[in-house]
Symmetry: C2
Subunit: 389 residues, 2 copies
């Protein structure tokens, strides 16, 4: 029985829409635009697509996408749950399906009008009372009701425990803005000074407006196939060295506050461990890290879980430009969610592919192995991409 | 690269709640009851469970189930979309994950208060306008707005095209009721005569109330692991010989009426083809068929797609007790959705395992290979189970 998925598949096509404050069109339209671009980028005939994956929260059904293209048949379709934590989990799904021969070519997509469409609220989904509704009933009535407030809770504790100051958060915010300036897709084209960071209004202490990414409209898509098929295609393949999911003890969706220690994200630990075991790589081998950065502090937690520094040391690690293009660990070279904008992290996967291809607007000297991670404080996922040997 | 999933995994534990018209408890409670029963049936320690799968429409989050049990970690979790069509797709997911080493033991579950809870309606889900909303806007305003009406459309055309009469539908309904009489779990404990069938009120011509299963409260769960681990466990393993998904051209969710021919379900054809190729079996090798039967006519379509008879011949095939315990093709020995009750077809998978174990209340002489299928007129799925060699 096979026991691994590493080095079996590759991302061979990528596509995106523009990222904007108002797309002016439906999420299905955005989906069809980015998926069409990804298929064209791969140079595959549309008829080769026989699998599709998106998030469980995505509004564009596989069968609507099929009809949009006239796709004849799908032999594989699945959804990854737990919202933004599932972004790299979509790749995990695709690789499992291809490796086991369930299908040959998978289209992975995620498109949202994240800024202009009304978003589902924890308490207003139709249907029977779900565990999700019950869960939120413990938080919402107390005004503890939005992702920034939950992220702030972990951040406050981390800073208290390790003596971290807001300087480390500022450093991350400023670095991402700097990267965004070279990126024509980025929503933030202006740099941020320390003074501007300090003057940014507090949302939930210690997180300021400048610590939080901006929800945007847009979509990204990816074509994934076997490494054998990848050889003959138009683009250099981004080999999937590892892909993993993880949900850890006392896991809640954003609010795992009943754990003994909330200065560490054990779900990130679990995903990191699997990715390194699967790929045979270690943190030192990662050349560029695409870390989910809707909140500046999320980067601190991931630097520790993914082994780039020891517990409590990330706030020192990031200082002095460590995450810059020429730093110790180039990070989010597209500007990430804080600079390019929040497309729920799927745009960080797209940048990871560009880094492997050597086409980032902020291409570091070395990018043989790129880590890309997903949502913070939820059941999560990650991938490691590599170059063709 | 591995290219198959057949004969790699087995269902080693099953559990269920009672099936009732009013469970009197939450869906999470039902989920925990049937999953606990499945784990105990398998004889595995709870800590062995490191993966979970359910439907995208299920209201009981994996992380709520984890907390319910105190499960430490999950390395795999996914959701199968397209409602009831995804039931056997949950097995497909589990087998891919185990075969590729992503996890060792998967808990598959589906529990609903299908009768007593308010069900999500196509037009009232929270969140942005999805393709699903847009789709239904073409049907709902014209009163063409419930599953029986959509199923009736295909049935009417089939009967017209092939000269089928309601006698064949009555035969299916009466057979399922007969099977249910031996089954203490079944909601229908009384037989149905032809006179009673004929007197049953018409819902949407040609489907009568007697042609439609009854939505119930309840849940079923399954423990799936590798065949190696299955060897040492408490129950005889139900080997997964094949598992497949399919969505075909011009696919809609229940309303694929723009196809050239609506007397055939091409998504069933696609799933059948994959299951037979994967297992090396053919229709003649199937000893018992657990066919999704929320509508009597769904059985006719599946008998043809899964190769038990030729196009247009199923309505003759079913006559004279062919689907009975001693018939040519014993079918839905638990009474199916029409007799045991509608638990969205997941109870048919449970009966398939019982048939392999030899513990059905209507055990046919031979049950070496059992086919179990999923939802009608939607992207769908199926499995073939077999005995350990």
């Amino acid at each position: 029985m096979p026991t691994t998925i590493n080095d079996q598949c590759a991302i061979v096509g990528v596509g995106q829409t523009e990222f904007s404050k108002n797309s002016g069109r439906s999420e299905l339209q955005l989906t069809l635009e980015c998926t069409k671009a990804a298929i064209e980028d791969a140079g595959l005939p549309l008829s080769d697509v026989d699998g599709m994956v998106t998030l469980s929260i995505d509004g564009s059904d596989e069968i609507a996408v099929m009809r949009g293209f006239g796709t004849k048949e799908l032999q594989f379709f699945s959804r990854v749950p737990h919202g933004i934590g599932g972004i790299m989990g979509m790749v995990h799904q695709a690789v499992m399906a291809i490796t086991t021969g369930m299908c040959k070519t998978v289209l992975v997509y995620r498109a949202i009008n994240g800024r202009t469409a009304r978003q589902p609220q924890p308490t207003d989904a139709g249907g029977p009372l779900s565990t999700d509704h019950i869960h939120w009933s413990w938080y919402n009535p107390y005004g503890f009701s939005n992702p920034v407030s939950w992220a702030a809770m972990y951040t406050q504790r981390y800073m208290h425990e390790y003596g971290a100051s807001s300087d480390s958060l500022a450093e991350i915010a400023m670095t991402m803005r700097k990267h965004a300036q070279n990126n024509p897709n980025a929503i933030f084209q202006q740099p941020m000074t320390k003074e501007e960071y300090d003057a940014s209004p507090m949302v939930t202490d210690p997180l300021r407006k400048a610590d939080v990414g901006l929800d945007l409209d847009g979509g990204c898509a990816f074509v994934i196939t076997s490494i054998d098929r990848a050889k003959d295609l138009r683009q250099p393949p981004a080999i999937i060295r590892a892909a993993a999911q993880g949900s850890a003890g006392d896991q809640e969706g954003m609010t795992s506050f009943y754990r003994d220690n909330i200065t560490r994200m054990t779900e990130y630990d679990l995903v990191a461990q699997q990715c390194y075991e699967m790929s045979g790589l270690k943190a030192d081998d990662i050349d560029v890290a695409m870390l989910y950065d809707m909140y500046t502090s999320a980067v601190l937690f991931q630097l520790e879980s993914y082994g780039f520094c020891k517990p409590g040391e990330a706030h020192e690690f990031v200082k002095g430009g460590a995450l810059g293009v020429d730093g110790r660990l180039p990070c989010n070279t597209n500007g990430g969610q804080l600079g390019e904008g929040h497309i729920q992290g799927v745009n960080n996967l797209l940048e990871a592919v560009r880094l492997i291809r050597g086409t980032s607007v902020n291409q570091p000297k070395k990018s043989d192995h790129v880590l890309a991670t997903s949502g913070f404080a939820v059941p999560t996922s990650a991938v490691i991409l590599g170059k063709s040997s």
